[in-house]
Amino acid sequence: MIYFDNSATTEIDESVLDSYLHVSRKHYGNPSSLHAFGEETANLLKQSRKQIASLLQVDEEEIFFTSGGTEGDNWAIKGTAIEKDTFGKHIISTTIEHPAVTKSLEQLEMTGWEVTYLSVDEDGQISLDDLKKAIRKDTVLVSIMAVNNEMGSLQPLDEIGDLLKAYPSIHFHVDAVQAIGKIDLSLAESRIDIAVFSGHKFHAPKGTGFIYLKKGRQLAPLMSGGGQESGKRSGTENVPGIVAMAKALRLLLEESTDKQAVVRSLKDELTSYLSGFNKVTVFTPAASAPHILCFGVRAIRGEIIVHALEKKGIIVSTTSACSSKRKTKASTVMDMGYSKNEAESAVRISLSHVNTLEEVHQFKAAFDDIYNQLKEIE
């Protein structure tokens, strides 16, 4: 099997799984316990936090463990809403966010919050002018993703950050689930207040994740209880998952520039290959994250390509896994100015550094066959 659906989820790394199993078997103590057995687990937790913080060059106190990207986004948005609702009830976001963001915002809208959704241009980027115009006195949160999960398009985070420097009281939340290891975020120097990460997108177990919360920023907890994670996120810590995630992050970020270059070269190879077909449109803009490539074959629904490739042992997806079964429109593609028909043809290839050039060649051979076959039935 050739797995090209790494933005949906990734294969767990073998050595990461080893750590997960070892901690599950040997260190099952509760980190909050008084005895030394629990203390050992607390040490593992502490060491994980330290490792993740140092890999991202931030402080340990700025890392909070969660169950993944959806929880992180919900927390960033609703936590800010609870924390700041006496200061204002307006939020700015974009039309191309992950459902974890848009559904959270819709929920807030039902309780009297106002949300301005910024649209994107043909490169999938918002306009800074639009953002500036949208900021109001009662804006408390700007929520913008780093890398779009369907298109790989990037947002001008630095410029947005510069703009927001004039509004120090606004929380700047970035869904960085697709960005980690793919683009450099420089969290400590950035204006970003909250960044959300998910473990299973970088070869760690599912059910793991963390958020970065800049020192001095307040975020109301959504999980109340035993006071874990400095009282900000209660619930017995998933220590095996957290240790495994810390390891996976190290493996991801070690020589990450090289890994990004490898992934980028595979994508370039695929892009130039696909651009050679006159019925193929590459939707992903040139300036994009190195691992995501969205394209479509004219008049052929994306799922037909997905199934045809699957038959040949190659796994890709239509758009995001979270919406692909629900038959919603490929919204980001349309938001970027393409027609409904074009949007419905969208297929997403998402790569990881574990993919190889050999796999890309096999993909090409398979796609050649499929393309010729589809040409005939047309």
Binding site: A36, L44, Q47
Partner: protein, 405 residues
Amino acid sequence: MEITEILVRYGELSTKGKNRKFFIKKLHRNVRLKLESFSKLKIAANRDRLHITLNGEDADAVMSRLRDIFGVSSFSPVVRVDKSIEEAKQAVVHLIKENFKDNMTFRINTKRADHDFEYDTNDLNRILGTVVEESIQPLSVRMKNPDLDVRVEVRLDGIFISVETLDGAGGLPVGTAGKGMLMMSGGIDSPVAGYLSLKRGMEIEAVHFHSPPYTSPQALQKAKDLTSKLAKYTGDITFIEVPFTEIQEAIKKHIPEDYSMTITRRMMLRLTDKIRGKRNGLAIMNGESLGQVASQTLESMLAINEVTATPILRPLISMDKNDIISIARDIDTFDLAIQPYEDCCTVFAPSKPKTKPKLKKVKEMEGSLDIDALITNALSGLRIESITQDDNSENLSEETYESLF
């Protein structure tokens, strides 16, 4: 522009008369030990300064270690350029720009070891001063107490320039004042008392009382971790664990509650003093601050101190809690110290300890204890180990679990 050497200035050493040589030797040794891992360094001590030649070692890493050495009043990173006036000009302007503040004052202070150099010190002062004034504004020259003192030294092998002066740790070199025993409880105060003792040149050994199962292994580890924090300033510290369970049980059984604290402290002091005698210490240090708790009133001190004539040094005696906490934060012991493990001072703590114990009563009550036997038993169970900066539970667990990460 690369930093090629670091100039280290001695602190109060300069005033120490005949002992000067001894102090400098100690300091030289402490610096050498602290910088041992940088194998390419060359360290040379002379009457008023220490020259550290980097030979390619990382200047920031070296300076960050220098900050922890007592007896260093300040140090300066030095940049070397080739022996050309143009290079010197460029370097001086560059260094001032890096440290520039509006309307600052500066002076150029040149020394010339190489008397064959084409310009003499007056020329150099004038040439470099002029180029600075021409290329950077607003600033002005001032000879007395300038904001920036630009030191330029022309030697045979180049021109050496420094502008920055960074504060050292101050104090006196560890080991110049003799050895004392630090009563290390595991709270906020005793590590600070240890730090201040080290700062005045003392060598310290930590004495910790352990009462299992009334005190936990974590409490013992915490005392060791705190000791490890102090080891940063001296290399390694001897840690002495005293078994105290039997004594605490005897006190609980035989001594009225309101006097148990006073007598517990007397036992601790007796033991510490015995250990001091065996190990050739000259004093005992603790973290007492006047009036802070019941054992730290003058009446209590009188009743407790009565067991020995050894000098008991109380570096924190006149300090407010907030000042102590602020030092604890600086030396990174605060977060450790506030971890909630019981130590032997709290485990049998009476609800109402005497704040004004009477010595006569204390002595009467102690009659019901077999003090000599208790002391001998405790001393026979001492556990002595050496703790370095790296010997803390965090590092230990990091090593144990390395493969998991």
